[in-house]
Symmetry: C2
Subunit: 199 residues, 2 copies
């Protein structure tokens, strides 16, 4: 609908996830019309990002060096590894400030429908990290959906070895929510996992 | 939360309109992880767009030459000018295929709260376009919201001259909305049913 490069900008923006044609158009005109708005840095970062960003050789997290800042941090406990699907999940967990161990990023979850099997995930390198016996607990923190549960079950069976605890994040009611809005499965899990507060 | 350039990409994406921190993060990881995804062209277009895109000397629409493709089109009737707020609105109206005249893009609407007065809009050049008497109808197609209505009222009073009809798009446009989000049928009806406000 637009002439040349404007349409091209709208098309390219529209290829980004979660940006539909209307949003792409709005962003394009915002870029065009706001005189003080500088997209040069965005363009530069887009060109640099692929070259600069690597994945940590140890845990698979995003990194700008051979290893990520968490794996390099001597204050982190090497006895616990938290297994997540994506690098985004590392950031979400770091935000809680509850966990001071290390991570292992699988790079996805087992999903036969998408053709993702155990060999497509960073599972072999996880097993290798457990070989020297330093790690005493593996916390499985995959997503609480079908693929995440399947991956958790697979890992639980795989990681049977002496002196290693394998745990899974608790399921239950989200804090700050209303009980009546919880779905049946979540509410069922909350019942299953109820803990004794007084006897 | 992220290291260096990843955080920078998330920040830059988050500065675009309608993209919150979560969307910015999702887009950044999409760019990082999809190997076949090429953002080079997006980066190039972002760098080129400001230099390449101009505004039509006649109507103020976006253009890659001194005048836009609509003003250059000899098949368009020079007797009717449709006045819109933004270049986006031109595209929305073109999509209806109801209108074969020319446009005039104001570059916004009168909005005292945002400090936008008549002098900040391309109103003087509109008046100049009417001087030679070729134009017999001005269709005011500003947004059907407070600012658009104020602008329409201002223009209706300003454009009193012999042999000039000033019309306003018919109701049918949802009040309080943005013109660019109207569907083709509604917008087409609005054109058909435009009413005479002054002659």
């Amino acid at each position: 609908m637009y002439e040349g490069i404007i349409q091209e900008l709208i098309d390219e923006l529209g290829r980004l996830p979660g940006i539909g044609p209307k949003s792409a158009q709005r962003i394009a005109f915002h870029i065009l019309q706001t005189e003080t708005y500088d997209v040069t840095r965005l363009a530069e970062v887009l060109l640099e990002i692929r070259e600069k960003v690597r994945f940590c050789e140890i845990c698979g997290n995003v990194a700008e060096e051979a290893t990520c800042s968490i794996c390099r941090d001597p204050r982190r406990s090497p006895a616990t590894i938290c297994v997540v699907e994506e690098a985004k999940d590392v950031v979400a967990i770091e935000r809680t400030r509850e966990f001071r161990g290390l991570y292992h990023v699988l790079g996805g979850a087992i999903s036969p429908i998408d053709g993702v099997g155990p060999d497509d995930l960073r599972i072999r390198s996880l097993v290798q990290r457990l070989a020297d016996g330093v790690v005493t607990e593996v916390i499985i923190a995959t997503d609480p959906n079908l693929e995440g549960e399947a991956t958790a079950t697979y890992l639980t069976r795989l990681l049977v070895q002496p002196n290693l605890r394998v745990t899974r994040l608790a399921s239950g009611l989200p804090v700050g929510g209303d009980l009546e809005y919880a779905d049946e499965v979540t509410l069922g899990r909350a019942f299953e996992g109820r803990r004794l507060v007084q006897h």
